[in-house]
Symmetry: C2
Subunit: 220 residues, 2 copies
DNA sequence: CTTATTTTTTAGGTATCTCTAATTAAATTT
DNA sequence: AAATTTAATTAGAGATACCTAAAAAATAAG
């Protein structure tokens, strides 16, 4: 079973939406996630249904099948491995990798991915802290919460970001909130939800609730 | 000016055919080089003509324009850099790289190619000994002749192969004729054109004229 | 130098993936 | 519950890239 580049992109979007959003994924959601029109999505859903990577009943909803899940995770695996390559080996900044990885993920060659994985030393997380599925599609995700949800005096380690847009990532670079940083919540302002944290036991950082909501932490 | 993947493939084929074949490139030549039908080629030639990467007069012939040359060399540069990456870093055998490089060459990202080039230490030749054009499309090609054309007692160094098919490359691996090997012609049999050479001053090797014709040598 | 052959191009059709506009189904309001 | 709004789908059409079959041009043969 082989998917086209377009089909892979749709399936990946569906996977991501059903992971985050919980309840069923709507045609409109997919359209805006993938920057296309709902009419195109309907068309593609029918095709993905025929290929049995999703279960689809029109006007009703959809669900990824185990086959679809496997294929989506394969694409995500490739995407994240390439991101590691770009950052670790080619010294891309973490806000520059997405577009290129978006192209590289569609290269078809199981051998290439095996070799790349080995070459990168079997990384478990990508530069944004997202877990890399293994060759069988298994993901070891760490239990993590938004920084925003931590209480005062709680400690932890930044392990990932929710938003991977260049604007957000560059902001984090600027203020020094990198993945792996050990943090502690010093204060939370009730009025606006903003938060003050201590980074690596030496630097104080204030951030808005919008920012704190997009930083994921492994509490200790 | 941007080319689609298909357009890049046609242009690359045209470039290679006009380099080797000397005289004008025919529709049928392109069709068989690219594994497609002449009718499809005609179609594409019209489009490439409109995009001004070739000069095209129907029923008459075509010629690559300076623009087309630049774009073709860019694609070839990418292809060969990826081949170096696959062999040097991911330990692909030199007969396994072509298919994958054929996909990777179409990734669009000038930054990626710059970084890859630097990461590979600005290689000047690919694993088959073919020169890698620089960022401006300049190629430093070495004057080289087919092993078949050398005279008895002439010495040289294997620098490239004409045929890059896995079957041929695996044969070369088997007999130990690698790129960089220093060789000397010991004997040439007039009857069948076969040739006997000395490799690295220690190994005698017999080969048919078909093989000797596909090995390129820099004479010393 | 006219006929036959080969080469090349055009015409018409298929598949993929996209769009806009129109229609249909589902969800909300009143 | 009927009317309205929103969401989703179908209809029809465009772009790319391919195909087969038919026509046209160029080349080769008698």
């Amino acid at each position: 079973m082989e998917l086209t580049t377009a089909e892979e992109n749709y399936l990946k979007a569906i996977y991501h939406l059903s992971e985050e959003g919980k309840k069923s994924v709507s045609t409109n959601d997919i359209a805006s996630a993938i920057q296309t029109k709902p009419a195109s999505v309907s068309d593609m859903l029918r095709k993905l249904g025929e290929k049995e990577v999703i279960q689809y009943r029109k006007y009703y909803g959809l669900q990824i099948t185990p086959l679809g899940m496997r294929l989506a995770l394969q694409t995500i695996r490739k995407h994240r491995l390439w991101e590691v390559f770009l950052v670790d080996k080619l010294h891309f900044a973490w806000d520059e990798v997405h577009e290129v990885a978006e192209q590289l993920e569609h290269i078809q060659s199981p051998l290439l991915i095996e070799r790349l994985d080995a070459y990168l030393n079997y990384p478990k997380f990508d530069p944004h802290g997202d877990p890399i599925p293994d060759a069988f599609g298994d993901v070891r995700s760490r239990p993590r919460i938004a920084l925003q949800e931590m209480g005062i005096d709680q400690s932890g380690q930044i392990v990932a970001v929710k938003d991977s847009s260049p604007a957000f990532l560059r902001y984090l670079d600027k203020v020094g909130a990198y993945i792996g940083a050990r943090i502690k919540v010093l204060d939370k302002v009730e009025f606006d939800g903003s938060i003050e944290i201590l980074v690596d036991q030496k630097k104080n950082l204030f951030m808005s609730k919008e920012v704190a909501n997009n930083i994921l932490v492994l509490t200790t």
